[in-house]
Structure formats: C-alpha cells, structure tokens
Symmetry: C2
Subunit: 342 residues, 2 copies
DNA sequence: TTGTAGGCGTTATCAA
DNA sequence: TTGATAACGCCTACAA
C-alpha cells in the first residue's frame, strides 16, 4: 500500500524514449520543445500519475514557493484577517504560506525566524511579538536579499518593507471623536509603550487632548501588558474607582473596549450618556456587544494582501538592493452606540 | 548585500580539513564522531554562520518536517483554535505548518490538496469544504502512506484518522436542554445535510424531540448554506413569522445563534421567557452577546492537538499499514442567559 | 528540437 | 573515527 516510489521525470522519459531534460522542459511548455512532444509528455505524465517534486525543484532553483508568516498568535481576529489576506494573495501566485506563532515571546520569535530561514522561505512577513525589542534575528534575511515585511507591529528602525496604519492619527481621531461627542475627561487604556503602535496611538490621544485644551492626567492613562479582556476589566475598574472618574475611554483594542463596556454596565453607568467608549480594530465583537462599540477600523485583510504583494513584487525584481518602504493604509472611524445615541 | 552564497557543510569541512560527511555527522552528534571533532565542527559552524538547508535534507531523506493543513477559511474562531492546537503541537516536535484555505470550494480543495502533496508534506490535516462530497483527491496520500487526518467536517466513508465530536449526542443534548427549560415547539437552523456533522446534529435534535413525545414539524427545520449571520437572520425571521412560531431554537453554530438573538430582541421577544436559544461552538461572541448564548462547547484547540499527535505518532511507526481510527472528543453544554434566567 | 552532464546541499552506504 | 562516493529529483548550460 505504501512506499511505491514517486513517478519522476526519468520514468516518463524512459517510457517515451526521451531524455529527462526534454521531459522537464516539456512539462513547463518550454518553447524549444515541439508541440507534439509536449502533448505526448503531458499525456504520459497524467497517465503515470506524475506529480512534480517541489522540493527537488526548490533545491535546484535555490528558491521555494513559500512565504513564512511569523505572528504572535492566531486567535485574534486581526491576525486571522491579516493571514487570510496574505494567504489568498500568495495562493493566487502559487505560493504556500507557513505559519509560526511566537506567542508574543521574544525567544520563540528568534527560534522560529531561524526555522523559517532554514526552510528557505522566499519571503517573510512578521508582526513582532509584544516582548521583542531587538531585531537582529531578522538581519539574515536582509543579507540574503530575502524580502522581509513587517506588518502592524513593526520595529522603529529597520530598513525594510513596513506595512502599517498611521497609529498616531488613528489615536488622534478616536480621541477627537470622544471630545466631539462631549467627553471632557478622557482616559486611555493602551499596551506597553515600547511597542510602537501603542505609543503612537497614545501620542495621538495626548495631542488631541492638548489641541482641545483638555488637561492630561497621567492617572487616566493605563498601560496593560497583553490587552486581554481581564486586563481591560481591571483597568476599567481602576479608572471608575477614581474620585474623579473619566467620562470617556479610548482603548487601544476592542477586547479591552468590550471589557470596559461590560464593567460600566455592571456598575450601572449609562453608555454613552455617562461614559463614552471607543475601541480599536473593529473586531466582530464590537458590533455584537450592546451598545455597539465605536471603534477604529483596522484594515487587516488589506494589510495582509499588501504585505504579500510586496514580497511577490520584490521576488520579481532583478535589481537587488536593500529597500526601505513604508506603506500606510487608511483607518476609518466607526461610530456605534458606545459614543453616540441614535 | 545580497546573494552571498550560503555556507554549506563543505565550507566547514574545508576550513577544518575534514570531509563533508564527518561534518554532517558531527552536526547531528553522531556517536561515531569524536567529541573533540563535534566540538570543533559546531564552533566553526557558529563562527561561519552556517544554517542547515532543510530543503536539501528533506530531498535526501525523502521527508519534510511539514504538516499541511487544509481548512475552509481562517476567519472562524473554531478554525483558529483548531490551527492553534495543530501548530503548537507540531512546533514542539520541530514541524512546520502550511496552511491552505479552500474557501469552502471543492475545486480549490482539490487544487490545494495537490499543491500540498507536491510540496511533500509529511502529513495532512483537513476539515472538508462545505461543498465537498467526493474525496478522491485524498487517495494519493493514503497510497503513499502519508498520514491523513480529517477533523470536524469529516467524510463518512474514508478509512483514515478522523478526529471529531459526537455530533449526534451534542445535538441531542442541546435540544434536550431546551426541552428541560420548558420549550415545547423547537426549531432548528442547521447546515447542508450532506455535510455529515450537520446531519448528525439534526438527527440528535429529532431524536430528542421524539424521546419527549414532541411532534416534529418539518417547517421548523431550516437548512442554510454557509451558516452566516445573514442567513441566520433570515431563517429566524422566517421562523418567527410563522402563524405558530417556535418557543425554542437550536442553531448549529453560534453565528446564527447570535443572529437569532438579535432578531428576537428587535422583535421585542423576551429571551429566554418567550424564546430560548442554544447555539454551537462556544465562540467568543456567545458570551459577549446579551443575553449570553447557551451553547455546546466544541473543543477546537484539543481537536487540533489530537490531530497533530495522530500525524506525529504515525510518522514514528515503522509498520506501515492503512489505518482507520476515529477519535471522539467530548462536548459540554454551556448554559447562559438565552435559555435560563439566573 | 533534443540530449549530455553536472550540480543544488545533504546523508547513507561502504570502505579505510 | 573518518573519508569517498553516490543518490534524492530537478534544471540548465552547452553540445549535437
């Protein structure tokens, strides 16, 4: 049942009294091969059940049809949509996608980057682990001119492709919206500050307050480690326990935003009258919760598509030189019941 | 900057005046090599920045360290958890995971199965596309003794590993719970009947009704194509528009369950007093919606882990023979506000 | 239009 | 304990 050897181009060649090179060329419709031979070869290949060995081909050509994707973890809607976009675009171009989860651990990220390198991926797309501050483990890709795209959680200084949103202006927009809806004392729940995206969103938040001459109260700014639901609950409780609690909260993701809504509801606060909340990402949760969570749409799927395209385009080019290219995708504000009554 | 050739074992061998075979063995701590040589080789490898070429190794050994995963689409919580489980288990064993999305299209599934085969995956885990009824495209894996695991959406007749839940008993449990909570006229929103999991859940539903001497009204059974939110809304509206509407609904996933809740709320029905709803999957949505959606927990992550383990175990075995092994994982009923008042 | 020959990097077999 | 050699399956420069 098992281990019957694979059919190779040699087997086809033997059967047709041709050379393996002719068969190889025929299978790729090489123009130097007669139509008749091409037809014969293809028919025989079908008949014999030939399947090309991509491995051998990759080794010989020194390139694989594989893109490596290194992300924190799969179970977040943003990541899922991102990968969907990556995978669909890659698939259309005949590329496979290998997925590796760092679980937000720097050590795992280093190991996995190496594993992806060893399996000779043609390109790599990475959204950094929460913990990661050094990025030496990616240098090898640049050295070998393997296109590297950082997406969303990108390092600050690394000359390569980066696909991201303008987190500063998104943070500004979100905060500004709360102000426009009448909030005067606005809190912020964000991620660790060395992760640039969170820092930028916070910067936007601060600038929006300044712009409207609202004071910045450091006690109203909560940094949480993993932006989980539990952390969101805790942070919200802390905020609402204050003597002078906020009347608006901008959370840097929807999970904590939803947590904030739940906590506020449990405490009997009326949303949005007494407390306005805006999140970030436009996760499915945000429209299911009652009231709906206003949020910033994060074009995850588009970011995935764009990342794949950068890789594919780079692989087509012949002039090899190091590249720095930052692509910003647009965000939109999505207004729901958590900030505005119908 | 680019294209500096990779360091190979030959380069190391040259540098140390050894043969490539010695280096190869040293790098794998082969017992026939002296400790001293092993040390020298490893140090030199580090120094020169050697990275093994898995591609060459795979070709030579005729096996890859890669598991292929073929699923419908990534953006469903069930699938995400499934893959998380697969990937983590695989990663620990030094395996990569290649992901391919069929988008529930039979044709794509056939193409992708072939692509995975061509890239010589060591094993394949598949959850069938909604459309798929024939499974010939998987025969090649069996022929080559490449372990194949079907998970969740499994074919009825295919002698291989299958990892699934007992959908019949889960459907029975869910329906039974509605009855126990007092529902007398229970509807069902399920998927296409040729997809076995939906058929089985429906069978459980029917038998639970029978068991309690409740009549089965075919009008109360809705089959929808993709179990999407929109379809859930439509189906629910249809049911509630009946002259004699149901007082309970069992939906075969949470997305349609949540849709049912929303529709019922919009219509001013009181849940669970006037209408009890139970879903399937225990998606994050189900606990966020208000009232919480009672549901059947689907051990997705566990199913992923189990699937990976089946593959890894099979690869270790030496006695190659075709295998039929069905693993059932447990489901649990999770009771929330949509069926029971606190 | 087709064939010959060598090599991609690794590893297993056999010999030393 | 180490080395020489061939092979995994494919592709391409060169030759015919």
């Amino acid at each position: 049942m098992a281990n019957n050897r694979d059919i190779t181009i040699y087997d086809i060649a033997n059967e047709l009294n041709l050379s393996s090179s002719t068969v190889s060329r025929a299978l790729k419709n090489h123009r130097s091969i007669s139509k008749k031979t091409i037809k014969r070869v293809n028919e025989m290949a079908d008949k014999m059940g030939y399947t090309p060995n991509e491995l051998a081909s990759s080794l010989r050509n020194n390139k694989t049809k594989t893109i490596g994707v290194l992300i924190s973890r799969l179970n977040r809607p943003f990541v899922t949509s991102l990968i969907s976009g990556i995978e669909e675009t890659a698939q259309k171009a005949g590329y496979n996608v290998i997925i590796a989860q760092s679980h937000d651990s720097y050590n795992d990220e280093v190991t996995l980057a190496q594993a992806l390198y060893n399996s000779r991926v043609s390109g790599i797309i990475c959204s950094l682990a929460m913990e990661t501050t050094k990025t030496n483990h990616f240098d090898q890709f640049i050295k070998k001119d393997i296109p590297l795209v950082f997406v969303d959680r990108v390092p600050k200084d690394f000359d390569t492709y980066r696909v991201m949103i303008d987190n500063y202006s998104a943070g500004y927009k979100a905060t500004n919206h709360l102000i426009e809806m009448g909030a005067k004392r606005i809190a912020h729940i964000g991620g660790l500050k060395f992760r640039n995206i969170y820092k930028e969103r916070e910067r936007g938040y601060r600038d929006a307050l300044k712009k409207h001459n609202l004071p910045i109260d450091e006690d109203l700014i909560q940094h949480v480690k993993s932006m989980s639901y539990d952390e969101g609950e805790k942070a919200t409780n802390k905020l609402l326990d204050m003597d002078n609690p906020p009347d608006g909260i901008f959370t840097s993701n929807d999970t904590t935003g939803v947590a904030a809504i739940q906590v506020a509801k449990q405490r009997g606060l009326i949303i949005p009258d007494e407390l306005k909340i805006i999140g970030f990402n436009n996760d499915p949760l945000s429209q299911i919760i009652d009231p709906g969570l206003s949020t910033i749409s994060h074009p995850a799927y588009e970011m995935g598509k764009t990342s794949s395209k950068k890789i594919l385009k780079h692989l087509k080019k012949s002039d090899k030189k190091s590249i720095t290219e930052i692509t910003f995708l647009n965000t939109e504000i999505i207004v729901r019941g958590s900030t505005k009554t119908n």
